[in-house]
Symmetry: C2
Subunit: 242 residues, 2 copies
DNA sequence: CGTGGAGTTGAACGATGTCAATCTTAGTGG
DNA sequence: CCACTAAGATTGACATCGTTCAACTCCACG
């Protein structure tokens, strides 16, 4: 496979959570070597610059994408002209969800993105012949559903602080291990993106981040880099009563 | 099949939207007779009273359910002890989504509910041997994801009125055709449920419904029954700028 | 050195949450 | 048949928090 030779990651991959509890515990969160190989056979590699559109809502859906590296945002437009960010896509995520053959969201690269692209028809044909692989896609979709529900939970929080803490916690899980060890959260997105995800105004985002700093929960190193002041205080603030 | 003989609906069924555009348009939103028959072979019928628990978050997931009639609500608990309603399930919906073998939501019947129940292991075995049927489940899950995203859109609305209008519109789609023709929306859920779904206080729900009435958008016939005063004004209010 | 975008800060208004009281309704039992 | 009860729904008064509008700072880039 020429594709497999050209990239370091070893081909398409999907991070997920298994539907059923494995007897080995949380095993098989990623595809097997065989499944990745089968996907590689129908994949081609794409590069997107930061800010570049990956797919557009309501457009005819011809490709499904699997991110190899980089971060993208999925968003829709509200009646008022504002936009809401539905979620962020990271490495090993799937994007290009569709209904009636049309994309249900607009997805734009936030950082430079490298992604595998599959023809919808080729992927569908593969999934029909590989039920086990299809189950992995089902599990991934269930996990996306779970993430969307957690987003709804974040949005239903009254306090701006908690909404922000939930976003920080979400982004944190996708940071490099060394960054996590240093209690640092690297935010690939702008304040406007955070505002659109949390349903707040940009000013409220800024104000409350600084308030969290005054309260000793976080430390604003730079606009894109936040340090957790105290692990214990941070998690306590996430689960707080008030 | 004894099950098929005992129920009028003709066995399990799944309402959905196809992933790909069919050459026949919006065809195949429901399962084929053959698929329903295969599901019936591994299904058993369950009855739930109004208010009865169908499945509980974090519990071992042994069954997946398919509603034949009635309405249920899916909810999670917020740190503050409040609860958020993630969505409502109607006839031909699937429920019992899981991760790591455990339910991700608590589901409770709002009205009396009749549902088919499938053993997870039996359903998984069936889906492995029937990739086409599995694709229907994948499409259904994608549609649930879409609904969760629309819920997030509703929650990100600043105005309480718009959140309520989006809920009314959602419920309306599941009403009986004759009710829709009469421009009536029958709400199976309580004001508290509406509040938990929209992220508002019960009082705010009540106040804004009455305000919508004063504005001539709807007419409150009874707490559980709302009439759309004018179709045009209603849809205009949904898409309004302000 | 100037420019523009992103981020921050300030002040005032307004919508919604909260607390509390009242009203309505369905179900119960005398 | 009627009164009682409890849960759901409504209404009022008030405080709070976030939005809005505006000005300002910071930094990268030419």
């Amino acid at each position: 496979m020429s594709i497999l030779r050209n990239i370091p990651s070893g081909g398409p991959n999907i991070s997920s959570v298994p539907l059923r509890a494995d007897k080995f515990g949380l095993s098989q969160p990623f595809l097997s070597v065989e499944d990745r190989h089968k996907l590689a056979l129908i994949a081609s590699l794409r590069h997107f610059n930061a800010g570049e559109l990956i797919c557009n809502e309501d457009d005819q859906a011809t490709f499904i994408f699997n991110i190899a590296s980089g971060v993208a945002k999925s968003y829709s437009f509200l009646p008022e002209g504002k936009e809401i960010i539905q979620g962020f896509f990271f490495a090993n995520d799937l994007l290009g969800f569709m209904e009636n053959g049309r994309y249900t969201n607009t997805v734009k690269a936030i950082t430079p993105v490298v992604a595998f692209q599959f023809h919808v028809s080729a992927l569908e044909a593969l999934l029909r012949t590989e039920p086990d692989l299809q189950l992995q896609f089902l599990a991934k979709t269930c996990h996306e559903l779970r993430l969307a529900q957690q987003h709804a939970i974040a949005l239903s929080q009254q306090s701006a602080q908690k909404r922000l803490l939930m976003l920080l916690n979400l982004v944190r899980l996708h940071n490099e291990p060394q960054a996590q060890a240093a209690r640092q959260i690297h935010l690939p997105m702008s304040r406007a993106d955070i505002a659109d995800y949390t349903g707040l105004a940009v000013e409220t985002v800024s104000r409350n981040l600084h308030q969290l700093q005054r309260q000793g929960v976080i430390h604003l190193i730079s606009p894109q880099c936040i340090e957790i002041a105290d692990e214990h205080i941070f998690t306590a603030a996430l689960a707080q009563e008030s």
